[in-house]
């Protein structure tokens, strides 16, 4: 029966080719619009470091000796940042405790960089500690990461990526060369592959998504401070110096600027770290009390952190909704067209029913026909989606570079097309299956 219904459906498709083409085109446009926006959302909500990110946690406790500054001002903007960063001493204390499998303090800085051969340029610097490279899976092409001993000695060493090496030295074989950061020499000890997880979850204060921005050089944070690099933003400063209040150069001793990430492999590790962090926070109780604050601490997984920071731009969600409602409209439209088309053959269906075709057979035939329309629409939607995505990539909104159609979304497109087909066909097919046997023969 299936084969026969298929054949009938195929015939039905070709009966009114103009209407069929209209329906297919409408479905295709609706599907393409939805898939374009959903593919972007899918890419933006992807796991930044598959296989690693579920073990990474951001650790924070409050140690700022000042009144709480996080009030909402009138124009609805947080008057201070809240990226859960720490002051240098507290970050160093957490590193020294070695309570995680691996741990690293991280800060994104900007610096002008030069080699002996080349013009200076502005680069993003990741000031961090020795565990970062193994912990975050930065792939080294050559050389070695720096050691904990070099961290402690504040050694001016650097790991640079292949593209910066090419830019500064004209070759990727740059081990032993010297990079000038603000006229301070840093010896290159490692060459890495360009590293740019999306979203940029460990430095959301710098950027969240970018096709072009990435840290091209990694240095020990102590050596970065010695070279005069300073963070351009802070989450809060001790109420001790006037200097710490300035927005020009953040004082690393009294201001929060380093984010502490830890790797915790098991649930026991997480629980143990939580109690350790709580203990660290409790130790601040007396000093915070004079500023009217209670001890605060947080241990956040990557997913919790991304949700808290609301990294996916509102526009992207709005576009998905817009495209979704557009698809809905296209579906109603096609359902209307199919209903009219199906009912036009009321007389035929009446004869088929009189000759013994069951209601189910009639419904199946028409559902298949609707399904075929939508599958054809899906096939046509594929190139349209690719076109939509390339249009999206042409817009320079930072994150739009990431708009791609991966395998999962490609499968999603056809699942959606089939789902749409069944939904669209359901009501018209049901209506046409209600046609009474024989009655229609008379009226014609």
């Amino acid at each position: 029966m299936m084969g026969y219904s298929m054949e009938l459906a195929w015939h039905g498709l070709r009966r009114y080719p103009k209407t069929t083409a209209l329906a297919v085109l409408t479905v295709a446009i609706g599907l393409a619009a939805s898939m374009t926006t959903m593919a972007l959302l899918h890419m933006l909500s992807a796991d930044p470091l598959p296989g690693r990110s579920q073990h990474l946690y951001l650790a924070w406790f409050d140690a700022v000796q000042a009144k709480s500054q996080t009030y909402k001002s009138l124009d609805n903007d947080w008057s201070t940042y809240d990226y859960k960063r720490l002051k240098t001493a507290d970050a160093e204390a957490l590193l020294a405790a070695h309570k995680g499998v691996l741990q690293a303090a991280v800060a994104d800085l900007d610096a002008q960089m030069a080699s002996d051969q080349r013009e200076p340029s502005n680069e993003h610097v990741l000031a961090t500690s020795s565990d970062f490279i193994p912990m975050f899976g930065v792939a080294l092409r050559d050389g070695r990461p720096w050691t904990a001993a070099e961290d402690a000695a504040r050694a001016p060493v650097a790991v640079i990526d292949t593209e910066l090496a090419q830019k500064l030295f004209g070759t990727t074989k740059a081990i032993g060369q010297v990079v000038q950061i603000k006229h301070h020499p840093f010896r290159v000890i490692g060459i890495s592959q360009p590293y740019a997880p999306q979203p940029h979850f460990y430095g959301l204060n710098a950027w969240a998504y970018s096709g072009s921005d990435r840290e091209s050089i990694f240095v020990p944070f102590g050596a970065a401070v010695d070279a005069g690099l300073a963070s351009s933003s802070t989450d809060g400063c001790d109420d001790v110096t006037e200097k710490s209040k300035q927005f020009i150069a953040i004082d690393p001793i009294h201001c929060e600027w380093l984010a502490e990430w830890v790797q915790l492999d098991t649930a026991q590790d997480v629980a143990a770290y939580r109690s350790f962090l709580e203990h660290s926070a409790q130790q601040q109780e007396n000093s915070l009390a004079s500023y009217g604050k209670k001890p605060q601490w947080q241990l956040l997984s990557v997913q919790q952190w991304l949700t808290l920071q609301n990294v996916i731009p509102d526009n992207v969600r709005l576009n998905v909704m817009l495209a979704g409602s557009f698809l809905l409209l296209c579906m109603v439209n096609v359902a209307g067209l199919l209903a009219a088309k199906f009912m036009r053959r009321g007389a035929e269906v009446g004869i088929r029913r009189a000759l013994g075709a069951s209601r189910r057979a009639v419904m199946l035939h028409h559902l298949l026909e609707a399904g075929m329309v939508c599958l054809l629409g899906g096939v046509l939607a594929w190139p349209l989606t690719l076109l939509g995505l390339s249009l999206l990539r042409m817009q320079d909104q930072g994150f739009t570079d990431l708009a791609r159609l991966d395998v999962a979304m490609f499968a999603g497109l056809f699942a959606l097309a089939l789902g749409v087909g069944v939904l669209v066909g359901l009501v018209p097919s049901w209506r046409v299956s209600l046609v009474q046997p024989g009655l229609q023969v008379k009226s014609a």
Partner: protein, 411 residues
């Protein structure tokens, strides 16, 4: 025209009618809201800046090392820029209009006030008003002898010598109106930080506040201070010249600045017009997407109406012939289909208005959008009526062309 026979016929096509009404309702709801979103974005893009946009170029630089004689350096830089032929004015400005971020301060009209009245941006830079081309509508510009260096301001703050801080400031008309509605702002005081008083000496017509998120909350809330900067504190060189000289002036300026001190790099440079374009890049992209969606929606709906009407015309071929044979004119037949479409569209619009309001409520809750103005409802309705009439015209004309002789043929 009697609509009862039309309604009677439509009742025989309940399903298709409902689908068409639903489609028109969706279109109406989405189009009303999308046009509203577009108008919001266009409003943003057209925000007046109050500055001589066509006459300005800027250069943003960063030092590689630090300099001991930063004040002498900036004086020398500015003198060099002013000596470039065609340059009428130049300054080192703390932030540029149409920058992505901005420095803002909370402003109170009474030091004891718990919540600030508003937040406003601070422009620092000698000659800022003249270089930007801002129009002063009341009071006076800042005088050269009033200016102090930002580094000295920080020193005074650290030593708590608040009385030595410069007290004169310029504010915009919008800001004055918000702080002291209906009063003369000249000579009035406002309070910043821990209650430091500052006096308004002049009112500017308009001066846009930088920062992407700041336009919705007081686009013109800007102040200008008698404060000079050095390159240590960041900032950009802003140069004013005739529009046709901009490219040449910019090139010469960069060369001169680099020659004076090679130990710094250019972070950004360009014309103010291009800076404005970049600032609104996302808004323009969004307008494009929304307009595209709108047009696609209307086309799909129009095609749906054409498709359905064509089917009905073909289906009723025989009865149209009968009506014609019984004396109905072509005009009657045309009118029949037009009225039928009008009735369906009207029902769709009625439902669509309710939906549009619902979508708007949802957007207000989740995206902090303002309420949909009532004017969008009649505009949306007229748009869809026209669309419906235009779409049905083709099939209706075909129906009107059916000759009476069809009635005599059997199917």
């Amino acid at each position: 025209m009697d609509i009862r026979p039309i309604l009677f016929t439509l009742r025989r096509h309940k399903l298709t009618c409902c689908l068409l009404i639903l489609q028109i309702a969706f279109t109406c709801a989405i189009v009303c809201n999308t046009i509203f979103l577009i108008s919001q974005r266009i409003g943003r893009i057209n925000t007046p800046s109050g500055i001589a946009e066509a006459e300005l170029v800027y250069v943003q630089m960063a030092n590689i090392g630090s300099h001991a004689d930063a004040k002498a350096r900036v004086a020398e830089d500015l003198a060099a820029l002013r000596s470039v032929p065609g340059v009428t004015s130049a300054t080192l400005l703390s932030e540029l209009p149409f920058d992505y971020g901005s420095n803002n301060m909370d402003v109170r009209t009474d030091p004891a006030q718990r919540m600030p009245t508003l937040s406003a941006t601070q422009y620092f830079g000698e000659n800022a008003v003249k270089t930007l081309g801002v129009q002063i509508v009341e009071g006076r510009d800042l005088q050269p002898e009033e200016y102090v260096y930002l580094s000295d301001v920080f020193k005074l703050l650290a030593q708590k010598q608040f009385d030595k801080l410069p007290a004169a400031t310029l504010i915009t008309r919008d800001m004055a109106e918000r702080l002291w509605p209906g009063q003369d702002p000249l000579g009035k005081r406002f309070y910043v930080g821990q209650g430091l008083p500052f006096t308004v000496v002049g009112v500017m017509a308009n001066l846009i506040r930088p920062g992407q998120g700041r336009l919705e909350v007081g686009a013109q809330y800007s102040t200008v201070w008698p404060v000079r900067q050095t390159m240590e504190e960041g900032g950009s060189f802003l140069i004013r010249c005739a529009p046709q000289d901009r490219d040449r002036v910019l090139r010469t300026a960069v060369d001169k600045l680099k020659a004076l001190d090679p130990d710094r790099i250019v972070l950004d440079k360009g014309t103010m017009e291009q800076h404005r374009r970049d600032f609104f890049q996302n808004d323009r992209a969004m307008v494009g997407i929304l307009a595209g969606v709108c047009i696609a929606l209307l086309i799909v709906t129009a095609l749906g109406i054409v498709g359905l009407a064509s089917f009905w015309v073909a289906q009723r071929n025989h009865s149209i012939g009968v009506r014609r044979a019984l004396g109905a004119t072509r005009g009657n037949i045309l009118q029949y289909f037009q009225t039928e479409n009008f009735l369906l569209t009207t029902m769709g619009i009625g439902l669509g208005m309710v939906l549009a309001y619902g979508i708007n409520l949802f957007l207000i809750m989740h995206y902090e959008l303002p309420r949909l103005p009532a004017v969008y409802f009649p505009v949306g309705a007229i748009l869809l009526w026209c669309l419906g009439q235009a779409a049905v015209l083709g099939p209706a004309l075909r129906a009107a062309a059916v000759p009476p002789v069809v009635a005599t043929r059997s199917v």
